[in-house]
């Protein structure tokens, strides 16, 4: 067994040194009859080659995004990740290190987390960010709970442009903690009147920007209305590349920004692991969930970094903690921070402009197809397309023609006739003119 260094002789010597006759003497506390006499009923050990063959067979039954014209988004995006990102995150010292509880020998992790926090704060236009959450959806649910703590109110107003699966996560955590949710109807065009729903019991308003349907709108009036009623604005960003081109939520008065950071540095991986971003104002930091790296000095006065403000966290505060989160998304945060460092302002702006231009080009091309109409007036790299007929069937037929054309809204919100003809379509820098032409042609054929 290539992973187990002990030899049979080692085991015998070690048992003798311990002073027991056999290994099962060390399992003496297991209740009678509960110790298995034989290994479980599963296949025996395999070599690398055999394992590669077996998993390769399963992998071959999937259609990788890179093998077809690909336009799927709705919360996860395919971007080009520079080769050096994956090389660096696979360095043993990053990959096989634990949470930096011993700061003297984990300055590498702590410094990159400090850099990550700063990048996230700058990108979202906020004062401070934590060292990552599981993903955008759980970060958003935690933000709602944080707003409840800050306002001592228990009602969240959710925009109809919020990703339906994010909404479901907020719903689940709210229903079991006795909080209320007022969720608006699905809003593909970005025209809902959310301000009218804010009242004196509202703790927070949750608005996705760009929305799950791709639409973007000014958040300032919503922030102003929320603040006037003593409520907070939580802005949710699932495509962080957009912030290279459009105003940050922080500029428009958001109190908490949560985001899915997958777009930068991280692959699609069928939905995880991703990296949740969480940023807020300085004054709210003590109610923030999750780990924080902070700057300090060592015994010789040299700058160094530690995990700090941990009196918010479960390992110190136990049942009084701001969250139960422990393990987060450290390595995905590293991928994010390396990719963002390689981009810098210059690269991020260029990347965002390419994304927008590609989406505009695609929108024009699809809009010209008979039976298809772009319904999103303002967008970044994603928009909603109305098609003649059932959108899920259209996407299915497109897949048969070798085009992954987007997400039918009915997959996220089933059973609503008025949404059944809508497709959420994304276009990033990976799409070529040829991809767009193939999409338009295939759409023409299936409609």
């Amino acid at each position: 067994m290539r992973f187990l260094p002990l030899t049979t002789e080692d085991r015998r010597d070690m048992l003798a040194r311990i002073g027991v006759a056999g290994i099962d003497d060390l399992f003496a506390d297991v209740p009678k009859g509960k110790l298995l006499a034989e290994p479980p009923n599963l296949p025996k050990a395999k070599g690398e080659l055999e394992v590669e063959r077996e998993l390769g067979r399963l992998a071959a039954r999937n259609t990788p995004a890179g093998s077809v014209p690909f336009f799927v988004g709705a919360g996860a995006y395919r971007h080009h990740v520079p080769a050096s990102v994956d090389h660096l995150i696979q360095r043993s010292e990053f990959l096989t290190s634990y949470t930096p509880y011993q700061p003297e020998i984990t300055q590498g992790t702590l410094q990159y987390l400090f850099e990550f926090q700063t990048q996230v704060a700058l990108l979202t236009g906020m004062d401070v960010a934590n060292a990552s959450m599981y993903d955008g959806s759980t970060a958003t649910a935690e933000a709602v709970l944080m707003a409840h703590r800050l306002t001592r109110r228990k009602k969240a107003v959710l925009s109809g442009g919020l990703h339906p699966q994010y909404r479901a996560v907020v719903d689940t955590l709210s229903s079991y903690s006795g909080a209320n949710v007022d969720a608006l109807d699905a809003d593909p065009k970005g025209i809902e009147d959310i301000v009218a729903r804010i009242d004196s019991e509202t703790s927070c308003v949750v608005v996705q920007y760009p929305s799950v349907y791709g639409s973007i709108r000014d958040l300032q009036p919503i922030a102003d209305a929320a603040h006037a009623k003593g409520a907070l604005l939580i802005a949710v960003v699932t495509e962080v590349v957009s912030l290279g081109l459009i105003k940050s939520p922080g500029e428009m008065g958001a109190d908490i920004v949560t985001a899915e950071g997958q777009s930068i540095g991280n692959g699609l991986i069928f939905g995880g692991p991703y990296v949740g971003l969480f940023a807020t104002r300085d004054k709210f930091v003590r109610q923030m969930p999750g780990r924080l790296a902070g700057e300090t000095v060592d015994a010789e006065g040299r700058r160094g970094f530690v995990l700090t403000l941990s009196t918010r966290e479960q390992h110190i505060r136990r049942e009084k903690a701001t969250s139960n989160i422990c393990t987060n998304s450290g390595l995905c945060a590293l991928a994010f921070t390396i990719h963002m460092t390689l981009l810098g302002d210059k690269g991020l702006t260029r990347l965002a402009r390419i994304n927008h231009a590609n989406a505009v080009a695609l929108a024009e091309k699809l809009d010209a197809v008979d039976g298809a109409e772009v319904v999103t007036p303002a967008f970044f790299n994603e928009f909603t397309l109305r098609v003649r007929g059932d959108a899920a069937k259209v996407i299915d037929k497109l897949a048969d023609k070798g085009v992954l054309g987007g997400v039918p809204v009915s997959r996220l919100v089933p059973g609503k006739a008025q949404l059944s003809d809508l497709i959420i379509v994304a276009s990033t820098e990976i799409n070529t003119d040829e991809d767009r032409a193939k999409y338009a042609q295939a759409l023409k054929e299936v409609l």
């Binding site: 700061p103 105003k247 069928f270």
Partner: protein, 523 residues
Amino acid sequence: MAMNTQGRPPGPGASGKSATDTFTGNSGLDHEQPLLFEVGGTAKTGVDMPEPKAGKARLGGLERKASVGLPGLTEPEALRHYVRLSQRNYAIDAGVYPLGSCTMKHNARLNEKMARLPGFGDIHPLQPQKTVQGAIALMEVLSGYLLELTGMKALTLSPKAGAHGELAGMLCIKAAHEAKGSKRNIVLVPDSAHGTNPATAAFMGYTVRSIPARADGTVAAEAVQAALGPDVAAIMLTNPNTCGLFEPEVAEIARVVHEAGAYFYCDGANFNAIVGKVRPGDLGIDAMHINLHKTFSTPHGGGGPGSGPVVLSDALAPFAPLPYSIREGDKFRLVETEGEVTKGHTPFGRLTAFHGQMGMFVRALTYMLSHGSDGMRQASEDAVLNANYIRAGLRDLMTQPFGDKPCMHEVLFDDAWLKDTGVTTLDFSKAMIDEGFHPMTMYFPLVVHGAMLIEPTESESKQSLDQFIGALRFLAKEAKQGNDKSRFKEAPRLAPRRRLDETKAAREPRLRWRPAVSKEAAE
């Protein structure tokens, strides 16, 4: 598992003589590396891209006016920056990482290679299900392995980490009680539990009732029975427990818990001790999370990502959250929304967008296929053997809070043996750093004074354990003789940093880089 600050001085401690007096502050292979914001510039980039297509913007007037202010680095600069940072990290690949409760075992590189196959790494969670049949099949295969190893009846793969898994399991329990119309509001948690247990229970609005451990470090069924009542929804118990012991009365505890109409949640953080040896399902457990990033060797990556599938008993199976996968003939389907829920399922809701940590599923399954049933069982036996070998090697010098008796895959010492030496658990741990080891988990579990929890895992060879034991014996003797206190008080002396001032970090929080403000400007 986390350390806590109980009894632990958070200041930087004694400084002694400076270790480095070079011009650069560098010390041979160890380099001082400024922050990205001090070396990068907004005019630099490490990514070349073509000019965007010309066209009219459709941004609705929301174009950003000011720049973001993110510094960039060219590729060679970025490589140097992050490689230098990496060299300031301890890692399993570099040395013994005996953090109790954390299971820092070897991470096979085949796991990484498999997770990066385009068929797994480059598929979108919302592309048509017929184009990802192999991915859903992999989730089914992994589920089958986990159910066989635990002897449980159902599971959810979606939780993102252990604490998220606890939440999933406890939400199943809450939903099960609600389905019966019962409104129980108390959760029993032993004092020795991980902090995430009471935090999870409180997060859901439960009141936490503590159960004291017995003098031998385990929980008595009698004590549980005494704490049970019509208001108790569940017990959250770690087994093997955080003192490194298998709970001898676990089956009896399950019986009394069920008799009182409550459910048994087991924290599976220590599953690595019993894989292929004991099935939690045979012990009467209703829900248990499995840390794929501990037991099944998906890498810790400096604190994540993790993955925390939860296995469930028959009683809780219907309440497992969305999404779940089902088999229809030779096809697999993910049930993602309330509207599609199939017969026999009443999910409590949804814990996360999409379907869970696919990247971790691939790695964990790679581990399982590689080890096989024989290898997994042997791994657990070796993990337990290694911990006991350390116990045998140190028992004459260091004290064990519950006497010298066999432990599971981690061995727990207290600080009674350091009494009157002036050396604390923290000092001792920091001195280990100078010897080239990562310290053990310190000051946890809370119920043991000055706790030192050592988990070597099965990945250490006998030679490596012998050296580790030798070093700890040397340090223990030094501490007792008291000839050279500075070895402990000033430790670590040979790491990239000496002890850091945690009090200052908390009192004057600096949580991000900000441009330096000149004195005149500030005034």
